[in-house]
C-alpha cells in the first residue's frame, strides 16, 4: 500500500498488484487483515467500488478470503500462489516485450541468449 497510482494501468489492477507486492514483501502477513476498501478508497481518493474491484480480483483467485463482518484476510499459502501466478504471467509480461523490442532493433536470437547467459544479474 501507500504507493503512488500511475496512469499506465487501470486503478483496480494497481490496487490488487499493490496488495500482492505487500504480501510478497511480508508487509502484510498470511492470516492478517488487509486494509478495508473504504480505507483504500480514502487513501487514494478513489471510488470505493474501484477499490473493491481490485480486492475482489484477489478474493476470486483465493489470495484473500472474507471473514464475514470483519474484513478481508490473507489466505494461507497466498505468497506461493502469487509467485506461481507471476511465473505464469512472466512470458506475457516480460519475455514477449523483450522479444518485441529485440526484433524492433534487430537483435538476433543468438545475441539475446548470449546476453542473458553473460549477464552478471541475479540469476
Amino acid at each position: 500500500m501507500n504507493e503512488i497510482l500511475t496512469q499506465e494501468k487501470s486503478i483496480y489492477i494497481q490496487i490488487s498488484e499493490m496488495i500482492e507486492r505487500d504480501i510478497l514483501r511480508d508487509i502484510i502477513l498470511e492470516e492478517e487483515k488487509v486494509p478495508s476498501t473504504n480505507e483504500i478508497a480514502k487513501l487514494y481518493a478513489i471510488n470505493p467500488a474501484t477499490a473493491a474491484k481490485g480486492v475482489n480480483i484477489l478474493v476470486d483467485r483465493g489470495v484473500l478470503y472474507k471473514k464475514r463482518g470483519i474484513g478481508m484476510f490473507v489466505a494461507k499459502g497466498a505468497k506461493e500462489m502469487i509467485k506461481e501466478k507471476r511465473k505464469e504471467d512472466f512470458y506475457d509480461n516480460y519475455v514477449k516485450k523483450l522479444l518485441l523490442e529485440a526484433s524492433n532493433i534487430g537483435i538476433t536470437k543468438e545475441e539475446l541468449v548470449r546476453m542473458i547467459e553473460g549477464s552478471q544479474g541475479e540469476i
Binding site: S10, Y44, N47, T50
Partner: protein, 290 residues
Amino acid sequence: MSNILECKDIVKRFKDKDALKGVSLTLEKGKIYGMIGRNGAGKTTLLSIMSAQSKPTSGSVNLDGEEVWENQKCIDNICFSRELNPLSTFGPNNVKVKELLRMASIYYPYWDKKMADSLVKKFDINIKQRISKLSKGMLSMVTIIIALASKSEFTILDEPVAGLDVVAREQFYKLLLDEYNETGRTFVISTHIIEEAADLFEEVIIVNNGNILLKENTMDLLERAYHVSGSADDINTLIEKYEAHHVENMGRSKGATILFKKGERMESSQDVMVQPVSLQNLFVALCGKE
C-alpha cells in the same frame, strides 16, 4: 425512500439559444456521479432543473415517479449547492456566513448542524464575515459545507472545487468519501478538474452542446478507450474499423483516440503503439473542436 431521479426529454430554451436539447438521464441512488462538459455545455442548467430550482421549457423530472417541480416531498430529498458568486447583487451576498447556514438549516429538513459546525472549524471559516467578502476558496468551502450538511439523499455540487487549492481539494475528496461510505448518499459533482476527480466517480456523464454525449461506468469507459499511433497507413486502417476521435497527423505519423465497443481489444504491436488514456484525454478527444 428516494431511489431514482429521472429526467425525460428536458429542453431549456433561452431567448436565442437552446441550452438543453432534449436531455434524458436516470440517476440511481447510492452512486457518485461526475458531470463534465465544456463551459456553456449546459451542466448548470441541467443540474438546476434536476433539483427543481428552475423549470424546463419542456420535459419532466421525476423522483421515484413523482414530478419534482413544486413538490415539497421531492425537494426535501434533493440538495443543489450552487456556486456562490460574490459579484452578483442578487441572492445571499449581503448576508453573513452564519445567516446563510441558518437559512440552509431551515431549507433542508435533514440538516446536520453538528456536521456544519465541525466543517466550519475544519475549513477555518469566519462565520461573521459577509458572503460578498469571502475569497473564491472560502466561497467553495461554504457551498461544500451546505451540500454535505444538507444530508439530502440526492446531493448535487456544481463545481465544488473551483477556487480551492490542491490541499483543500484533496481534503474535500476525502470528506466526500467519508460521507459516502457512511451514508451511501447519491452525489452528482460537476467539475473542470477532471484528472483529479475521475477516480472518484463511479459513473461519468459527459454533457456537450446541450446533449448528454455519454453516461457510463468510469472504469468500463476507460477500459475501452485507447490512443493509437503509428504510420498514417496503419492508423487509417484502424480509423475505418473503429470509432475514432481527435485524429492528428505529423508527417507520415498519425495518432487517434479510439473508442472500442465493449469487449473489443487491441494489442500493441511492432507497428502500432496502443496506450491507455485518462478521462481527461478522452474528454478532450470527444469534446475538443479542431
